[in-house]
Amino acid sequence: MTPAVTDETTLLAVLAPFAAAVAAPFLTKWFKHNAAWPLAVVPALIFLHFTGFVAPVSEGQSFVAAVAWAPSYGVNFSIYVDGLSTLFALLISGIGTFIILYAGGYLKGHPQQGRFFSFLFLFMGAMLGLVLGNNLISMFIFWELTSITSFLLIGFDHLRAASRRAAIQALVVTGGGGLILLAGFIVIISATGEIEMSVLLASPDIIKDTGLYVPIFLLVLGGAFTKSAQFPFHFWLPNAMEAPTPVSAFLHSATMVKAGVYLLMRMHPLLGDTALWTTVLPLFGGVTLLVGTILAVRQTDLKLMLAYTTVASLGLLVMLTGTSHEKALEGAVLYLLAHSLFKGALFMVAGTIDHEAGTRDIRYLGGLRSAMPITFGAACLAGLSMSGLPPFIGFIAKEVLYYGTWGWPDFGLLITVVAVVGNSLMLVIAAAVAIKPFFGPAVDTPKHAHEGPVLLFAGPVVLSVLGFILAVIPHTTGVLFIGPTLSSLIGSFTEIDLHLWPTKINAPLILSLITIGMGIFLFTQLDKLRAFIAGTLTAIGWGPDKGFDQAIAGIVSLSSAITRVVQGGKMQTYMALTFLAAGAAVLVPGYIGGGWPAMPKMPTYTFYEWSIFLIAVLGLISVLVAKTRLTAIVSLGIQGFAVALIFLLFGAPDLAFTQLMVETLSVVILALVMTRLNLSPRDHRNGVSTLVTGAISVSVGLGLGLTLMAITQQPFDRRLSDFFTEYSNSIAYGRNIVNVILVDFRGIDTLGEIAVVALAGLCVLALIRVHTKKTLPEDEVIDPSDTGAKKEAV
């Protein structure tokens, strides 16, 4: 069976959410919250499209499609569809459909609901582009796009400071990780010469053979660990709960945070199964799992509890992926699927409770089962799946992953213990989130609780029921979804056979029983446990979250310290530094390279040429001896006009013309600046200061003079001059070569220059405006003649 789809429609499917993002605000304007219904059709269609791939992919096929993007750099918008990307695409579009519906109900009547839909669609498109990406560069672009769009989503409620902080934190952590990943991709591209993932995957040893395995491994890990919130980068994820619940449900179930896991799974055939991989990943994954569950128990807020278990689940997935053991990888894939379904559902349940009861603190919730029966049902199903109880997909996942960890020859026992502890704590949270708010006596909630509208319960119901259906047809689930994905992970086609009920009593079953028993015991002790963890954490006091604030504050104070040094606000220092640098730039190379020019032969000049030189020198001398600043400015003008005359005499009328105008305007503007600033008419600097500035001036002048002499003594390459002379009139219809170069041959240069002139004008204007309000300290001079004088170089 071939997929009923062509390459073009798959490319369009990736771009469809972006189109929906444009349409969303208008639809929301017309249909209000009911716009969710037509909008949800987009991800639903994408989902349907990718179901067409399920059958062929399960037979071991994969598909590649591409459009050239920047072909000269080998950058294509290309997609690669195999088991792993199909599973992810289905999860993103499938869960995305219900998230859109849920967002319609959750933000009903919100003035910015259209914008919210837009952001969600942008994010969805970025995620699809990432998981289907084949070209490393386009993958990176979508990777960063997920960071940017999640920034927009997390900071959606931008009037609250906590929201803004969470958004910035997520952007800094995941965006920074993205840059590390870019470095990794660039190393891969330059070391292997390949840019398409499908090509790399075709020869699994290609990276290990380059000798750059370790840096590539570390850089890719930097991207994956920040995105997937591995300890110690886990702190951004719980903070991201500041976002409206639909965002949390989407970002933290199937998408954003799974992107790092996706990357590790995608790279597994290339980077996996090495000593480094099987040490670092299980270590970080295991620590993250434990830290995540322990921190989750401490919380009382439904969303925060779920958020920390998400951290834990990501740790579990990384740990399993890190074993490179086939059965454990199978467990990872199963758990990935199970987690996306139950976590998506539970987040939406938490949101619905918050929406309908007015609080999501478990201490103030109870007895909601009669008020919200449908939500209660969905919460139970999802909670049981999360607890790893039969007959749910979570149970199968746990059985398989125990089988995998138990059978891992390296550190099997250790990670099994970690997994058991983690899973039993996960069960505690599942019970606290899914069971506790609904049982017990009814508690007075801030709002009178009642069942939410269909938009709110559609998602949790469908996702949690799916967790059940997939478990009762284990063989089909295994063949259609788990097997193909596992094949992508291990790089060769594998078929697996899943069972819901264990056939005999074996280690995984016993481990499951231990997990359940321990979980139930801990749940009864939940309040004590919470108090104990809270006490311990208070004793420690410091965490990466605080560390993030300290790091940001450190960067801010460092940059302001640097700014104070380099931008001291004293014009004299700026000028001295600028000219020192200029002097060094012209003198040092000559000093090191020894390329001093030979003493030129003295040419013979006529008397009027001599007299113009004399005027220039006299102008300079009068600058030096001038009593007042105004005299000095005017004297500088004398020298400038003399130079203009020299240009004129030696056959550069355009240059002379420009020089004349620039000099005029410089004198006018400098004189205006003088009248504007409260400068004392005389220069009162002491002898030392004069000597220093004099030395700097002489060295710059000497350096420039020597450089010019050295340049003119080189043989002159006439190719450009000849070209301009020959073609100026014939192809550009102009006899004034200088002007033809400016406006035609090198027009783009001029375009850049006039942009600079306009911008410099704006900046000077802004500076003048700023300084109108307060009087300036002495010597703080704005030098606007710079804008005009720069053109002299042309």
């Binding site: 013309f657 503007i669 004034n736 783009i748 375009l751 002139v757 004008g761 003048i768």
Partner: protein, 139 residues
């Protein structure tokens, strides 16, 4: 600075200079001149006018804010480059439309539009600086 003679002559001088700057701008393709020099001349004309008769008078005379002139010039410069894209040629490929007017051939072209853009940017940017600096003198 504001002697009677200067104040009387300045408007005429400025007008003459602006006229001359346009002349310099247009002859630029074949003789010394061009948008940059023309712009500088026009900017000095406005500066002189401002010194003599006050900034308010200049702002009244040029109607719009000088920075808008610069902005429009930059837009013209960029737009002149875009025209060639419509004929499937690279950005800034020059286009020529010679026309005959009273038996004189006038070569209209994108470089001319571009040069006018340069002229406007220079006039706008420099004179907005000069006028801003002169402003306090008048008040």
């Amino acid at each position: 600075m504001r002697t009677v003679i200067f104040r009387t002559i300045a408007p005429y001088l400025s007008a003459l200079m602006v006229l001359y700057s346009i002349f310099v701008l247009l002859r630029g393709h074949n003789e010394p001149g061009g948008g940059f020099i023309g712009g500088l001349i026009a900017a000095s004309a406005l500066a002189i006018f401002g010194i003599a008769c006050g900034v308010a008078a200049v702002r009244r005379a040029i109607k719009v804010h000088p920075m808008s002139i610069a902005g429009f010039g930059l837009f013209m410069g960029a737009a002149a480059g875009v025209i060639s894209l419509f004929t499937n040629q690279p950005f800034m490929t020059s286009q020529w439309w010679p026309i005959d007017l009273f038996n004189v051939q006038i070569k209209l072209s994108t470089p001319l539009i571009f040069d006018i853009g340069v002229y406007l940017v220079v006039v706008g940017a420099i004179s907005s600086i000069a006028l801003a600096l002169e402003e306090r003198e008048s008040d």
